[in-house]
Homo-oligomer: 370 residues x 2
């Protein structure tokens, strides 16, 4: 690909390269990707296109995995329905599970969302948790190697491990890392210990010192910075991480999609009609008139439609490059480009929704319980 | 009794009347004791002698108990073996259970002690917990109405209720009430929410809005001050409390007995020989020589031996009054007075230890588990 697409530049408010510096993570280098390709036999779209762009110790994970297979861990805070942005790390986890035969641990933090959101009750977050789990399972994970748990329902195991972490983390640390204040409730203050647990759970359940890789959106990195600080003192490996950027909001360059703003995102339970309406109303890089667009071309680099193709819905490199050029040269208008995307999204969602329905019957096979 | 014994004055460092003011609790008045006597048909030694001296809402508990029976709750932080001082609230709970047919909830806070004590492991505190539970059961509780739980083993239930409390308690509050600092670990900061749970557990398990009475040493009052602040917002009654003073240290007026200082206390597992050695070496109000004591008399008001009689081992009022006078007038020497106490303590302990052995076989009948 000789054209330059830096999807993160679309995100007016987030500079991902600065995040790497600020968080002290490592960029995914060409060398590391070559190493991955050697081990996996191919390079996933998300790596090739730098949707996953940053990491901690991912090189170490690849180096040792033949001797010490890594477990995967990611999570979900159940505040509302799952959207396409949430799916990205899960799709990547499913890919890694297939390639590396990895055990996959999935934490659903209903306690966190109850504690952090004034308006949510324990019943609310639990109901959302079960709804969200259907979307996780719909990603196609292997039930024999996938262990999903809801914090409040796995609380005995979690609390027992969490106190060993909590004993090593002070209020000062959580204040510095998470910005907690004197007015923060004591459940929130304790929560980083609960979120650390799945980094150590594979070691405990698999009865070995297990390397753990966390694919997650970059904004979650804080939690595991604290975990990494205490891991070795507790006799575990530091968890490794690989970070993805956010799928942009459909409404334009204003940060990530939001479960609370219906129009910003495509939700996994959306109908065909909802998908079409949202995509047709999305923010694009198009001109004011068709005539202008024919004459001057559009700007795919700020276009959410193009980003959706790039992130998820146009895996073929030649095709996506051609679309970029066709847009810039005025060869394609926004209307048909949007309609095509909506169709592709719906094709994807229709299958997802079928698997989601089937997930209801097999949910229990995936659940870890006390 | 016309002689004045104020056992708390023996405690050089603790002024219990000031504690009532400082903690904002109520003294146990003559009127309230009369009310109690009317309901219970008698007045327990601990009430008559003001071993229990302070309360919160104990008057309300007595007033409503015919309509809404109260549950009892107390606890134990397992740091070492149980001593006679620990037994006092338990003995009183057993008495109240018998008189009022109360359900009794007992929390063993192994998590707390692990979090607060650098040197203790999770395994240590759990082992001590199980050892201590034998002493609880040995107090003679009714297994059908007694529910003992170890925090780490009942963590699922506890955590689920604790987060509803934690959401309503800020770091500021715990800093003000418990003196937590920025260097306090986040497990300790969360712990007040765990310790609040048994105040609400009877309501949840008994499926009614249950009044709860907490007999406990006065130093534990802090925890339930916070609990009382949040109770009504969560739909529960504020827990009531009744507070006892500390059994003095055998080594003299230096605060309460300590599980970590062998010579300060009589432990429930002590041998006859240990009991005699400790009592014979205890701090007394005796004179330097027998001749002086005959002439000037001893001082029972600063004497730990006399305190032990007064607190636990001389229930007969006439007898204890006579002992006070005999001491002051030089009619009794420390040697025989100590030997008699040692004998009485051993008689008590020997029976306790028998029940303690039997407790091993029935322990499970008392345990609440997730």
């Amino acid at each position: 690909m000789d054209f330059k697409v830096t999807p993160w530049e679309v995100e007016g408010e987030v500079d991902y390269n600065k995040l790497i510096e600020q968080f002290g993570t490592q960029p995914l280098t060409q060398e590391l990707l070559a190493e991955f390709e050697k081990k996996a036999g191919e390079l996933h779209l998300f790596l090739k296109r730098r949707i996953f762009f940053s990491h901690r110790d991912f090189d170490w994970i690849l180096r040792i995995h033949h001797e010490e297979p890594f477990a995967l861990y990611t999570g979900r805070g159940p505040t509302g329905p799952v959207h396409l942005g949430h799916l990205m790390p899960w799709i990547f986890c499913k890919y890694l599970q297939d390639k590396f035969n990895s055990n996959f641990y999935f934490q659903v933090t209903d306690d966190e969302k109850f504690l952090f959101r004034e308006e949510l009750s324990v019943e609310d977050t639990k109901e959302i948790a079960y709804d969200n789990i259907l979307d996780i399972i719909a990603c196609g994970f292997d039930s024999k190697k996938t262990f999903i748990f809801i914090d409040t329902e796995y609380a005995k195991t979690l609390y027992n491990i969490a106190i060993t972490v909590a004993k090593r983390v002070t209020f000062s640390t959580t204040r510095a890392v998470f910005g907690f204040e004197n007015s923060t409730n004591i459940g929130m203050i304790f929560f980083p210990a609960i979120q650390a647990v799945p980094c150590f759970l594979p070691s405990i359940l698999e009865k070995r010192k297990a390397p753990v890789l966390i694919p997650a959106a970059i904004d979650q990195d804080n939690y595991w910075r604290v975990t990494r600080d205490v891991a070795e003192r507790l006799g575990y490996y530091k968890p490794a991480a690989i970070h993805n950027i956010f799928l942009p909001s459909l409404t334009g360059p204003s940060g990530k999609m939001s479960a609370s703003k219906e129009e910003t995102a495509i939700f996994c339970k959306d109908t065909r009609e909802q998908v079409f309406t949202k995509v047709m109303n999305a923010f694009t890089g198009g001109r004011a008139t068709i005539a202008e667009q024919r004459k001057f071309g559009g700007n795919p680099d700020i276009c959410t439609i193009y980003q959706y193709y790039y992130f998820l819905f146009m895996p073929d490199d030649d095709e996506v490059e051609k679309r970029h050029l066709d847009c810039k040269s005025g060869n394609i208008m926004c209307g048909p480009c949007k309609a095509e995307l909506a169709e592709r999204i719906w094709t994807f969602l229709e299958k997802h929704q079928e698997r989601r329905e089937k997930a209801k019957d097999v949910l229990e096979e995936f659940m870890l319980r006390d």
